[in-house]
C-alpha cells in the first residue's frame, strides 16, 4: 500500500471528509451529498461509503473535459468491486497533504497528462482497502472466514451459507475496523471496469444543463465584477473617470488596480455596462510595443545565428558541408490563445483570518500559496472548492495565478467580506495573454547518395515559459526543446541549439506545451528529408527508429489503418507523423483533398495511440478525437498577433476556431498494452499539424511551413 494512501490517521480522514462535505453544499451538482452524513465509512481520503449504499469517490484532479472524474472512479471502483451505478464523484478541495499529484511532489494539481498515471496505484489501493474492511466487517458478523466472502457489483456474498449484503449494510461496522496496512491488488485479468468502456460520471449533468461551472455558482450576497484591462500589455491606469459608470443602475463600486479597473455590480450585465462606460487614460510608459511582423523578422534573423547549444553529436558542420544533398527549411508558429469556451472566472470570499474560493483550478497548491501570500495568511487558511471547468487546455494553470489574484485583489479592495465573482468577457479572455509562445525553427539536414540521413541541425527561437533567457546554470526550460533535443531518429551528426528572446508577452502551457512546436518542425522536416532522399516517409522513419519499439508500433499501426501506400483519389494526399509526449506515443495519418487555389479540406485522420493500458478506451478515443480537433483548429486558423503591443484578435470572428463542418472523419486505434497507463489529454495534438503539412505536400507538391496554413503561405 502506498504511503500516500496510508499515511493519515482515521481522525484526519474524517476531518477531510467533513471538509469535503461542507464544501459540497455548494458543489452540489458535482456529485451528491450522502443521505447519511452521520456515519460515513471513509477509510481513506478518496472514498466515502454511506449507509444508503452510495459510494462517493473524491477526485483530486479537476474535471475540465478530459474525463478524469470517470477515470479516477474507475480505478477505485474496480478494486472496491462496487456497482458502477452506485458511484458518485465529488471534487476534492485544496489540500496538498492528501490530494497532491504524486508526480509533482507535494503539489496538488492537474496537468501534463499526469492524472491517471500518478493515481493509478493510489486510487486502486484506496478501493482495495475499503473492500478489505467491508469484507472483514461481514466476516465478523456472519462468523465466517473473510477468504470465503466474495464481492461483486457492490454485493458481499458468502456462497456456502447463502448470506449476502450491500456495502451500506456493513459500512458502520467497517468504520470501526483498523485500516489495513497492505492490500492485494487485482491481477489485470480480473478487471471488470478497467479497460472497458464505462459511461462518464458527468454525462447526465452535462447533457441536462445541470453541471455546475464557476460561472453558474451564485452565493448569497454575491456581486459580480467585470474588468477593464489596458489595450497594450503592461500599461497601467493613469486617470480614471468613473462618473458615468457609477451612475448605471446596479453598479456598486469601481476599483482601481495596477492591471486595470474593475466595475463591481449586482450582476454581470450591470457590471459590463459600467465597465463600458468607464473612461480611462493609460500610462503606457512600461507597455510593450511588440509588432508581430517585426517579431517574425527578428526570430528569422536569430534563427540564422548560432544559439545556446543543447546537443552536439558528431560533426554536423562537416556533414552539412560535404553532403550529397542539403535541405533547409524554416518553420514558424504564432502565439495561440487557449480560448476555452467558459472564459476565465473565479469566486472569492475573504473573511476574518481566512479566504475561500470557488472555481476550476489546475494549479491548486500554487494558487493557494499565491492567495495566502497576497492576504498574509497561511496556505491552510485559504480554502479552495474545485468546480467543473468549461475547458482549460493549460489556461487554468497559470503559475502566477493571474485571474485568481485579480479576483482576490478586487475583493480585498472592497473589504466587505461578501462573496465576489470575477467574470472575464470573451474579449478579456482572448486579450488576456498567457499564450502558447510563438516559435521559429530553422532546420538544416543532409542526405548522402544512398539516401541516408547524414546530418540534422535544429535551431529553435522561442520564449521560455519560466524565467527569461538562458539561465546561468545552462538548464534551458524544456518547453523550448522537448521533442527536439531528444530526437528519436538515429542520426550520427545531430545538433540542437536555442535562442530565448524576451518580448514581454505572458506565455503559458497550451495543450501539449513544447511538443506543439517541436513536433511540427521535426515531423515536417523528416518528411522533407525523405522526399529529398527519394524515400517513402514511412520507410525512412522506420529505418531510423530501431530500438524504439513502441514508437515504431504506433507508426506501423496508423500507417496500416490509414491505408498508407494505397491508391488515392485524384487531388488527394496522405501525410504521416509520429510523436511521443507525456509518456504516450501517437501516430497520425492525415488524408486531404486539394481543390482550386490551394483550398483544401481534411478528409480523414487515422490515429494510433499507445498509452499503456487504456483505463477507459472510449475516453481515450474521445481525447484523441478532441486532440485532433484542437490541433486542427490551430493549424487551420489559430493565430494571436500584436500591433504596437496590443493583441489584434478579440473574439471568435477574429480568432476563428474549428467548426463541425471542418471536422474530418477520425478513426482511433489503441495499441493493446499491459504497461502502466500514461495520459491522453495532450498527446493527440502534436502529430496533427505536421501530418497535415506532409499530406498537403503529397497532394500539391507545395510546402506549408508556417502556421496557420493559409493558402498564401505555401511555398
Amino acid at each position: 500500500m502506498s504511503s500516500a494512501v496510508n499515511k493519515l490517521s482515521r481522525r484526519d480522514f474524517l476531518k477531510a471528509g467533513l471538509a469535503v462535505s461542507s464544501g459540497l453544499t455548494l458543489g452540489l451538482r458535482l456529485g451528491s451529498v450522502p443521505a447519511d452524513e452521520a456515519a460515513p465509512f471513509m477509510p481513506n481520503a478518496f472514498v466515502r461509503i454511506g449507509a444508503d449504499n452510495s459510494v462517493t469517490i473524491i477526485a483530486k484532479h479537476v474535471e475540465m473535459g478530459q474525463g478524469i472524474h470517470t477515470g479516477l472512479a474507475t480505478l477505485l471502483a474496480e478494486e472496491l468491486d462496487a456497482d458502477w451505478a452506485q458511484i458518485r464523484v465529488e471534487a476534492a478541495p485544496a489540500d496538498s497533504s492528501r490530494y497532491n499529484n504524486l508526480n509533482w511532489g507535494g503539489n496538488q494539481g492537474t496537468g501534463g497528462s499526469s492524472s491517471i498515471n500518478n493515481a493509478w496505484l493510489q486510487m486502486r489501493e484506496a478501493g482495495a482497502a475499503a473492500r478489505a474492511m467491508l469484507v472483514a466487517a461481514a466476516a465478523a458478523q456472519w462468523q465466517v472466514a473473510a477468504s470465503d466472502i466474495s464481492v461483486s457489483k457492490g454485493q458481499l456474498r458468502h456462497a456456502a451459507s447463502g448470506r449476502e449484503g450491500s456495502f451500506g449494510d456493513f459500512c458502520a461496522a467497517a468504520a470501526r475496523l483498523p485500516v489495513p496496512g497492505a492490500v492485494k491488488l487485482k491481477d489485470p485479468q480480473e478487471f471488470v471496469y478497467i479497460g472497458h468502456p464505462l459511461a462518464r460520471t458527468d454525462a447526465v449533468a452535462k447533457t441536462h444543463g445541470q453541471a455546475l461551472y464557476t460561472i453558474d455558482l451564485h452565493l448569497p450576497g454575491m456581486r459580480t465584477a467585470v474588468m477593464l484591462h489596458p489595450p497594450r500589455i503592461g500599461a497601467v491606469p493613469a486617470t480614471v473617470d468613473d462618473k458615468a459608470a457609477r451612475a448605471i443602475k446596479g453598479v456598486h463600486a469601481v476599483i482601481r488596480l495596477d492591471q486595470g479597473v474593475a466595475v463591481v455590480a449586482e450582476n454581470f450585465w450591470a457590471a459590463k455596462r459600467g465597465r463600458d462606460a468607464l473612461k480611462v487614460d493609460w500610462d503606457e510608459s512600461r507597455a510593450i510595443t511588440l509588432d508581430s511582423e517585426d517579431q517574425r523578422t527578428q526570430y528569422r534573423e536569430l534563427a540564422s545565428r548560432t544559439g545556446h547549444s543543447l546537443r552536439a553529436d558528431g560533426d554536423v558542420a562537416a556533414a552539412l558541408t560535404t553532403s550529397h544533398k542539403r535541405v533547409e527549411a524554416v518553420y514558424e508558429l504564432p502565439y495561440l490563445a487557449h480560448a476555452t469556451l467558459e472564459p476565465m472566472n473565479c469566486i472569492v470570499q475573504i473573511s476574518q483570518g481566512g479566504c475561500e474560493l470557488w472555481y476550476g483550478a489546475q494549479a491548486m497548491t500554487s494558487d493557494q500559496n499565491h492567495v495566502a501570500r497576497l492576504l498574509g495568511l497561511t496556505p491552510a487558511k485559504v480554502k479552495i472548492n474545485q468546480l467543473f471547468a468549461g475547458g482549460s487546455f493549460g489556461r487554468r494553470a497559470d503559475l502566477q495565478a493571474d485571474y485568481v489574484l485579480e479576483t482576490v485583489r478586487i475583493a480585498q479592495a472592497l473589504g466587505d467580506g461578501q462573496p465576489l465573482k470575477l467574470l472575464w468577457t470573451r474579449e478579456d479572455d482572448m486579450r488576456g495573454g498567457r499564450y502558447r509562445p510563438a516559435a521559429t525553427h530553422a532546420l538544416h539536414g543532409a542526405v548522402n547518395a544512398q539516401g541516408e540521413v547524414q546530418a540534422w541541425q535544429q535551431r529553435i527561437v522561442c520564449q521560455a515559459l519560466r524565467g527569461g533567457g538562458v539561465p546561468k546554470n545552462g538548464k534551458v526550460d524544456k518547453t523550448l526543446h522537448e521533442g527536439a533535443s531528444d530526437l528519436p531518429y538515429r542520426i550520427g551528426n545531430l545538433a540542437v541549439d536555442v535562442h530565448i528572446p524576451e518580448p514581454g508577452v505572458p506565455v503559458l502551457w497550451w495543450r501539449s506545451v513544447g511538443h506543439t512546436h517541436t513536433a511540427f518542425a521535426v515531423e515536417s522536416f523528416i518528411d522533407e528529408l525523405a522526399h529529398a532522399a527519394g524515400r517513402d516517409p514511412l520507410e525512412l522513419r522506420r529505418s531510423l527508429l530501431r530500438d524504439d519499439p513502441r514508437r515504431l508500433a504506433v507508426l506501423e499501426l496508423a500507417a496500416a489503418a490509414g491505408d498508407w501506400g494505397k491508391p488515392l483519389a485524384k487531388g488527394h494526399g496522405r501525410g504521416i507523423a509520429v510523436h511521443r509526449s507525456f509518456g504516450t506515443w501517437v501516430a497520425e495519418v492525415v488524408e486531404v483533398s486539394m481543390g482550386e487555389d490551394e483550398r483544401f479540406s481534411v478528409e480523414r485522420v487515422t490515429v494510433a495511440v499507445d498509452c499503456g493500458l487504456a483505463v477507459n478506451p472510449d475516453v481515450v478515443r474521445a481525447q484523441m478525437e478532441g486532440g485532433v480537433g484542437y490541433a486542427l483548429s490551430a493549424a487551420l486558423a489559430g493565430e494571436i498577433t500584436f500591433k504596437n503591443g496590443a493583441v489584434v484578435q478579440d473574439n471568435f470572428d477574429s480568432y476563428p476556431v474549428l467548426r463541425l463542418s471542418q471536422m474530418p472523419r477520425i478513426d482511433v486505434h489503441i495499441v493493446p498494452s499491459a504497461e502502466a497507463p500514461s495520459g491522453v489529454g495532450e498527446p493527440g495534438v502534436p502529430p496533427l499539424a505536421p501530418a497535415l503539412a506532409n499530406a498537403l505536400f503529397a497532394a500539391s507538391g507545395k510546402r506549408w511551413r508556417r502556421l496557420p496554413f493559409k493558402t498564401s503561405t505555401a511555398v
Binding site: M64, G65, Q66, G67, A199, R200, D202, A203, V204, A205, K206, T207, H208, G209, Q210, A211, Y213, I215, D216, H218, T224, K249, N267, F268, W269, A339, T340, L341, E342, P343, F388, A389, G390, G391, S392, F393, L423, T425, R426, D618, A622, E625, G626, V628, G629, Y630, L632, S633, N651, F652, D653, V657, L658, R659, L660, S661, M663, R665, I666
Partner: protein
C-alpha cells in the same frame, strides 16, 4: 420589463427591456444551463429555442420576446429533445460540457424540421455552435442516432 414565457411557465421580469435574455435567464431566474461564451452571437453557447427556432440569447433583448415561447435546456422535454439527449448519453458526447446545452437545443430544432437530416444539413444547422473540446464527430453521430430512434 413585463412577462416572459419560459419552459411553459410565465415569469415576471425585473430587468430593463434592453437586457439580453441570457443574463435574465442566468442572473435573474437562475436558469444557468444556458451559457455565456462570446456575447456576440459568435459561438452558440447561449442557444435557446424561441417558438422552436434556435436563437442566441446573448444578443436578444428581453423586450423582443414578450409574445414568444422560450425553451431552455432545463425545459427541453419534447419527444425530439429527449431523443437527442438520450443519443448524447449513449455516445458520451460531452467532454467539458460547456457548449452542450446549446448543441442539444440546436440539434433538437434541426430534427423538428428535418427528421432525417443529411450531413450537409447537419453542417448548416450546427456550424454556429462551437465546441472547443471538438466533440463534433460524436455530435454528428448522435444527431443521426436520435433521428433513427425517432422513426
Amino acid at each position: 420589463m413585463g412577462k416572459l414565457t419560459i419552459n411553459q411557465r410565465e415569469f415576471d421580469i425585473q430587468a430593463d427591456d434592453d437586457t439580453p435574455l441570457l443574463w435574465v435567464l442566468r442572473d435573474e431566474l437562475g436558469l444557468t444551463g444556458t451559457k455565456y461564451g462570446c456575447g456576440k452571437a459568435l459561438c452558440g453557447a447561449c442557444t435557446v429555442l424561441v417558438d422552436g427556432k434556435p436563437q442566441r440569447a446573448c444578443v436578444t433583448p428581453v423586450s423582443a420576446l414578450a409574445k414568444q415561447s422560450i425553451t431552455t435546456i432545463e425545459g427541453a422535454q419534447s419527444k425530439v429533445a429527449q431523443a437527442v439527449i438520450n443519443a448524447w448519453l449513449e455516445l458520451d458526447v460531452a467532454q467539458c460540457g460547456y457548449c452542450q446545452s446549446g448543441q442539444i437545443l440546436a440539434a433538437a430544432a434541426l430534427l423538428e424540421t428535418h427528421a432525417q437530416p443529411s450531413d450537409a444539413q447537419i453542417n448548416e444547422a450546427m456550424d454556429g455552435n462551437l465546441c472547443r473540446c471538438a466533440t463534433y464527430v460524436r455530435i454528428r453521430a448522435a444527431i443521426h442516432r436520435a433521428a433513427e430512434k425517432l422513426t
